[in-house]
Symmetry: none
Subunit: 400 residues, 2 copies
């Protein structure tokens, strides 16, 4: 047995309840000596830290900057190196495209084809409204074709997601995208016998698009890349005997949660609605993943002050979680997003676990550097799930 | 994908520059309450530590004392359990013997053969000058034989390195060395079909040596052990997209660096020359390994005071590195060499990483016990390379 399979072997169903509150991109770097989290006034998180057990987590490995997909999978107890998600499936999840077992999805660009070469891979960055019109035009032209059922879902500007819905498609296909302007179109090539059928469908569809778009001035062709089928990931209910709920607003996080069998709920854009849903469905589940996005967005924007305010906003919701008396409450992040770096980073995440069974340490303020001195020390995010389950009394003893 | 392959998958070439300053055998143990490093006055390292991110590293695993080869390989991002170097190749590297792909090398002893048994495996520890004379005698006797080309390189006292230069030799050979005095000579035995040819060559050469040395009073036979071919290790340029330079004086470290494709430079015996070379070649590379040896030598001698002075000497060169403004500066050791133990030890190494993207921690003095409270915590030396690359912006994001 692998070490990471232990929690799966030992998990039992109990009535205890776990809340995993993910403050996206929480960790940062100092500007004028203090990080965003150290700058923010977080009386509730500090009070929680004072009685909780703290540490810092590496989402994938030291020095490695993770995307949101692998960073979340690790927190949910799935090794992100084992469960690698294709770009197409992540794009589909992020675009709220429903993906079923058997579907093949890909990221698409509209492009400008001129004199037999792709003159512009982004079709002059057509407006999003144009992309919506063109996707609708193609979907309408194929409305009476049901096998395969192919649907385009518009994204921002020239981007879209293509979904091929028919049985037996493999995603072992090369990109149908020359990657550079001024090159001829290239077909998707089957990487093995099982993907021959998919290659044929994809290439025929790309030809069909050219016929449908022949009168368009800019977007008169399409490129597809990152072909992915729905990955087969075991459900959290099977692995950890949990009945989990995902309370998140952004499509990517909801889609990822659905992939591993979490129940998702419709949540409005206001963060307070996360906690309305949490309270409303408290009796129904034993594991709640609550996702707070604003911190990451502010970090990506490089806006230190906005990130400080977002952290303070997250802090104010802590009492609403505590009032529900979860047996285990973890507050952490998927990855760090320092405003200084304008993006995800490789820095570890502050991690706090409050439970009657937790060892209180002397970390009295919730911060990156405070948590690093906590009793948990520095550990992989992949250990978060066994820690939550263990502290909640949801793991049997290993051996006798 | 294995976790240790991540940095290889994600590495990109950039203009940022990394300096890895290895103070060999830096870590020690207290005598009168303080370690060598804690005793030494190190104002520059302390100043650097105060703004850097610190930790301690285990070269191979907790409790395991590494040789210089595996300890350095780990720092360079190569798993020392995967890339095990034969004794023969390390001896050859340490003796500045050029080893090419296809060469077979071995460690040798001159010995005294009497009445059909090896009476003395060290030929009475003949002086080094005698060893040089005898190697020259054997090389001269074989001067007109070019296939195989066999060359002996004298070492200290009775020791030498033998190099067999011909195509198709395997190193799957048992030692041609009875290991104890008073036993008969034993031949090298081929461990598989591929090494039959090598066994034949080696054993014929050992007989030839006895004929050449028949009139020598002490050194009248040779023993060979640790047969090794040049290991096939991928180059740092391939793995990490680096253009690396090794600035080291001792042959073993230069040889090891060449094995993984680092450019080496001729460096004189004075430590200041390391930094002359660093400055002279600063524009040409993006990764610089600088090796300071005196600390280890003092530790091996069990000379606490000499080790303190060597550490203080290393400290005085820090400003010369800083003046070059590397994007990432790491100061650490390959392994510990406590004067108390007169040799390498299993203790972890103090580690310091200074970069604009590093999280400063509250470690204000560079020491073994200070670094253990640093933000990096305790981690494998193998993570040093991903950390250096990550902080230097040389790794793409993992997943989306």
């Amino acid at each position: 047995m692998e070490r990471e399979d232990l929690a799966r072997e030992l998990a039992i169903q109990t009535d205890s309840k776990i809340v995993l509150f993910v403050i996206d991109g929480l960790g940062g770097l100092p500007q004028n000596g203090r990080t965003e989290l150290e700058t923010a006034a977080t009386p509730n998180l500090d009070r929680l830290a004072a009685k909780a057990c703290c540490g810092v987590t590496d989402p994938v490995a030291m020095g490695i900057t993770p995307g949101s997909g692998p960073a979340h999978l690790a927190l949910f107890g799935y090794d992100p190196l084992v469960h690698q998600l294709g770009r197409g499936i992540l794009e589909a999840l992020g675009s709220d495209v429903e993906v079923r077992q058997g579907d093949l999805v890909a990221r698409g660009n509209f492009a400008t084809l001129k004199d037999g070469v792709i003159a512009d891979r982004r079709a002059g960055r057509i407006p999003t409204s144009e992309c919506e019109r063109i996707c609708a035009k193609i979907n309408a032209a194929r409305a009476n074709v049901s096998n395969p059922e192919i649907t385009l879902f518009p994204g921002k500007e020239h981007r879209f997601v293509a979904r091929f819905r028919t049985v037996g498609l493999s995603d072992a296909l090369t990109d149908a995208d020359p990657q550079k302007d001024g090159k001829p179109r290239i077909p998707a090539v089957a990487e093995n016998a099982a993907s021959q059928k998919a290659a044929g469908l994809v290439n025929a569809f790309l030809d069909e698009i050219i016929a449908i778009l022949k009168d368009e001035p800019a977007a008169n062709a399409a490129l597809l890349r990152g072909f992915s089928v729905q990955p087969t990931i075991p459900a959290m209910s099977d692995l950890f005997k949990l009945n989990p709920a995902a309370i998140a607003n952004y499509p990517m996080y909801k889609g990822l949660a659905r992939l591993i069998g979490m129940r998702t709920y419709k949540v409005g854009p206001e963060p307070a609605e996360l906690f309305d849903i949490l309270e409303a469905h408290w009796p129904e589940h034993d594991f709640f993943y609550v996702h707070f996005k604003k911190t990451d967005a502010a970090g990506e924007d490089g806006n230190f002050e906005a990130k400080v305010r977002a952290i303070e906003e997250a802090d104010r919701f802590i009492p609403r979680i505590e009032a529900l008396k979860p047996d285990v409450l973890v507050v952490t992040a998927d990855h760090s997003t320092p405003a200084l770096m304008h993006g995800h980073s490789f820095h570890p995440n502050p991690f706090l676990l409050a439970a009657a069974t937790a060892m209180p340490d002397d970390v009295a303020a919730f911060s990156e550097r405070g948590c690093a001195r906590g009793y948990f020390g520095r550990f992989p995010s992949l250990s978060a799930m066994p820690l939550m389950l263990g502290h909640a009394g949801k793991l049997k003893k290993f051996g006798a």
